[in-house]
Amino acid sequence: MSEIYILWWRQMKRYLRTRSRIFGTIGQPVLFLLALGYGLGAVFEQAGQGDYLQFLVPGIILQTLLFSGVFWGIQILFDKRFGFLKEMLVAPVPRVKILLGNALGGTTISIIQAIMVFIVAFAFGFRPQSWALLPLAFLIIVVLSLTLTSFGAGLASMVEDFQGFQAINNFLIFPLFFLSSALYPLTNVPKVLEVLTSINPLSYGVDALRYTTIQQTHFGLGKDLIVIAVALVVCVVFAVNRFNRIQV
């Protein structure tokens, strides 16, 4: 237990000491919120879809979790590059514990970022429909951040350098984000997009967040939760598997 705690503690110390990271990673979601929320809001409303800001916020929260979690994976690359990973990997502690301690740090950071974005959104006029469902929304955020942090850790364990990670970012993370239901409703989208978005697990994450905050759903909460649970297991297994193979 104390080993996991010290790994988590180090991640938090690092996070709190690099202010640029705190603001850097919420800057992007806030920009999306402003530019899209206000920029497209009027069009959205004219099309009879209601208040776009309300619709968008769950998507932006997912974006925060996705980018925070995956970028946290870069930490592993940094640790590899600057040698600190060796210090952790040769410790007399099972690798699963090493990964868990680190991933819990990443998860905590993601959750803090998501809460900050939520507060900013609230200031912009976002209002949840039902306060009673917010604890469930929070729980979903916790599970999603653990999933996406594991995903980031697994990816980072696979690539050798920052260029490799950049490629993953461009060819995997951005498509995953844009081909989800984060930014637009899935009603009346072209068939191709509909298929792509509905095989994307992120869409179900957004959908669950949307249900628990503004009570709109495309797939239904039951289906959402099943997909989220499966994604969690798959991502954790992926991360453990990849992390176990790291050679330094």
């Binding site: 010290i6 690099t18 600057f82 040698g83 600190f84 060796k86 040769v90």
Partner: protein
Amino acid sequence: MTSKYAVEVRGVVKTFGSIKAVDNLSFAIKPGEIFAFLGPNGAGKSTTIKMLTTMLRPTSGQLLLNGHDVTKDQASARKSFGIVFQDPALEEELTAYENMLFHAVLYGVPKKEQPKRIEELMQLVDLWERRDSLVRTYSGGMRRRLEIARGLLHHPKILFLDEPTLGLDTQTRNILWDYVKKLSQNEGMTIFFTTHYLDEAEQVAQRIAIIDYGKIVAEGTTEQLTKQTKTKTLEQAYLKLTGEGIRDELSEDFNGLNVRSVMRTGGQR
């Protein structure tokens, strides 16, 4: 399989692509022994240490630490050793004290002993006054000293020191070797170190192996090595065995590993 040795390496081969970094290497170190590995750049010293400390997997062969197979039973093997790395491995965003604490917890130093031992070692390398500074603000020499102190924090059965004195001043070198000798005597700790300073090997090690092209070319005490090569000093013996050519090693960027490439220059005079 059990082994009466603290460290045992049996027919180990490690290749990176077409390059053979370690070539059918075998040796054994007795418990409590201080053993030095000498060899030119890229001879396979660090690769061997990396395999022994579970950082790399061998292509073939067997490595045992305290009787535990390093490849098959990594967890038990990791409980047996400590290491001072050749390359920096500190967390820059933590203070020196926090780096020590992190290590103490992760490497299982009993909680009660943590503050005492951390202070003792930081005093030893003269960093106690600067304990609350971020490592980011440390100079190269201070970082090296901190790494040494950290490596000695928990008392493993086997201690690996991969070129520990590289870039250290004479004072710290002396302090380090005195401390290491004490650990070996008082706690029966097995010490395995690599170095480029032959005087260190001569003064500290009870037994020396000279490795070149991934193979051990000679092994024994200084007297045995000089006798065997019909030379007067360890340095002469070393040069006679490994030649006078200058070696290159590929940078860490190549697969993250040190692999030798050879540049024959002086050797053909």
